[in-house]
Amino acid sequence: MNEAVPALLAAADEAASSPMPLTFAVIIFVLAMFVGLEVITKVPTTLHTPLMSGSNAISGITIIGALLAAGLGGRLGAVIGTLAVTAATINVVGGYLVTDRMLRMFTRKRD
């Protein structure tokens, strides 16, 4: 039984690391798009700008692609990947901080 466990894990890992089937990628893409469409229904005009800034920060998710590109080794990939990591980090860090600054203005008013 004990010898079977690492073998099972290795097999599961192997299956998981094979390329994502295109259909599966399309399925989660479409579903996620629907969620995005549904989640933003009523936004007061005053929050348009912070919401745009906040969703811009979320689009910084591209950083995980950059991390993988930079971390994979290989000279050219590493250089380009590092530039990508830097750019994406600016997007993420700057985006969340700027959004917070904007939103701070609104909460202060409400007190």
Partner: protein, 457 residues
């Protein structure tokens, strides 16, 4: 770390992103929503770093550190009035990151990628690089840095754009048939970069917020497309979330301006830009801040209409002081905030909040318009197109159909402007020449400070 655990962490991050977007639609929960989004991002980053795929750490740490420093410094030092440009710039960096990752992956795979890889890489490169250069131009136009804020049009613009897009699409189709020619992604990226510039350059500064929202959606789609290339669920889900919510937000912004997206993107293309000079201008009546103060303190209801000029002059604190003095004299003071006053929706609210203007005094368009008839004075500070009556009756005007603030219904209208120069729409405002209108020329802050001084005497 097990890839499945990493994938599950992406699910957790996606759930937090969904909460974040939902929460940011309401003032009460908005700030917590943003925090949730940040935590989600942190989870995604940390677990990705645990991936067995990552071997070379020094580069990554260098990139993270540099990016955090630059991003943090920019975000914390930028002036509130430059918020729109900053969002554009950060968005551009996101697009750049996606575009670079695609290129890195293409180089790594070499000619061994299959058709699916090549085509998705081409699409991802197209979206990513359009987003990058488009956002840069949006930033430059708002900042008036190297580029004018006015629409830039040239002959055959529509044809040129279409041609470039067609060639890029053709290259992507070619990649599908000959995935071995992986280097074709480079010309796709180059064409996309040019397209990004040409797409944004004909749009005027006033419409830029809508464009930024659209580019924001694109940067999400770029991330999702990169996710297709890498087979990464986190990128696909989060990218799709942002892509879709960005489209909805863009539509909401257009609706607030009562214009269609097509009108915003293509209105100037194919037209000659109207210049305000040329026809004879009737004389205007020019007054001093002292005259304005006299009108204001004898009013019972004053409605202040702030605009971009107020932001540029940083006059919001002086305006608050003036409003306080008027309230002390028994004047009722209200602010009429047009949805697209300033450079972005909510821009005026942010500025006035910074000056501690009481929230109850701020009214949106539907609330304030009926009040103008009762108002003794409408004080328009640095706003122009949002009060231009041409929007009501002039079918040829670029702002026709846009809901405006009915300041002309007030007993007296006072414009605080630097000159008679047109606003973003580039058109003259017939209101300047009305008999009820008083022009008070000068920098908004200087003028309002002058009014404050006169009131204090």
């Amino acid at each position: 770390m097990n890839q499945q655990i990493i994938d599950l962490s992406y699910l957790a991050a996606a759930i937090l992103f969904i909460f974040a977007l939902k929460a940011m639609s309401s003032p009460r929960t908005a700030r917590k929503g943003n925090l949730a989004g940040a935590i989600g991002m942190l989870i995604a980053i940390v677990f990705t770093l645990g991936s067995r795929q990552i071997v070379s750490w020094p580069w990554i740490i260098a990139g993270l550190a540099a990016g955090a420093l630059i991003g943090g410094a920019l975000a914390l030092t930028v002036h509130m009035t430059a918020m729109p440009q900053m969002v554009a710039m950060f968005n551009g960096f996101g697009g750049l990151a996606s575009g670079l990752v695609v290129l890195a992956e293409v180089f790594r795979a070499g000619s061994s990628g299959d058709a699916r890889f090549a085509v998705t890489a081409g699409i991802a490169a197209l979206i990513g690089w359009v987003t990058f250069t488009g956002s840069l131009v949006a930033f430059a136009k708002l900042q008036e840095f190297l580029v004018t804020g006015r629409p830039v049009v040239f002959p055959l613009q529509k044809a040129v754009n279409f041609l470039l897009l067609a060639v890029a699409a053709g290259l992507i189709v070619l990649l599908g048939f000959y995935p071995g020619l992986h280097w074709l992604v480079i010309p796709v990226a180059a064409l996309a970069s040019v397209l990004g510039v040409l797409f944004v350059i004909p749009i005027g500064g006033a419409d830029m917020p809508v464009v930024i929202s659209l580019l924001n959606s694109y940067s999400g789609l770029a991330a999702a497309a990169t996710g297709f290339v890498l087979g990464n669920s986190g990128l696909i889900i989060a990218g799709a979330l942002v892509g879709a919510s960005g489209i909805i937000l863009t539509r909401l912004m257009c609706r607030a301006m009562n214009r269609s997206l097509a009108n915003v993107l293509f209105a100037a293309v194919g037209q000659t830009v109207t210049t305000a000079g040329g026809k004879e201008r009737p004389p205007v009546r020019s007054f001093s801040p002292v005259d304005a103060a006299m009108v204001l303190e004898n009013a019972s209801l004053v409605i202040i209409v702030p605009g971009y000029g107020l932001a540029v002059a940083q006059a919001q604190h002086a305006v608050k002081e003036m409003a306080d003095l008027l309230v002390q004299r028994g004047v009722t003071v209200k602010y009429g905030i047009h949805p697209v006053a300033g450079r972005m929706p909510g821009h005026m609210n942010v500025l006035l909040a910074e000056a501690n203007v009481p929230y109850e005094q701020l009214c949106d368009l539907d609330e304030i318009n009926p009040e103008f008839e009762r108002a003794d004075a409408a004080l328009v500070i640095g706003a122009n197109d949002v009060v231009n009556p041409a929007a009501r009756h002039d079918k040829g005007s670029p702002i026709y159909g846009m809901p405006i603030l009915d300041v002309d219904k007030a007993r007296a209208v006072m414009f605080c402007k630097r000159s008679l120069n047109p606003g973003f729409a580039g058109i003259d405002n017939e209101l300047f020449y009305n008999p009820n209108t008083m022009m008070v020329f000068g920098d908004a802050k200087a003028t309002v400070t002058g009014i404050v001084a006169a009131l204090k005497e």
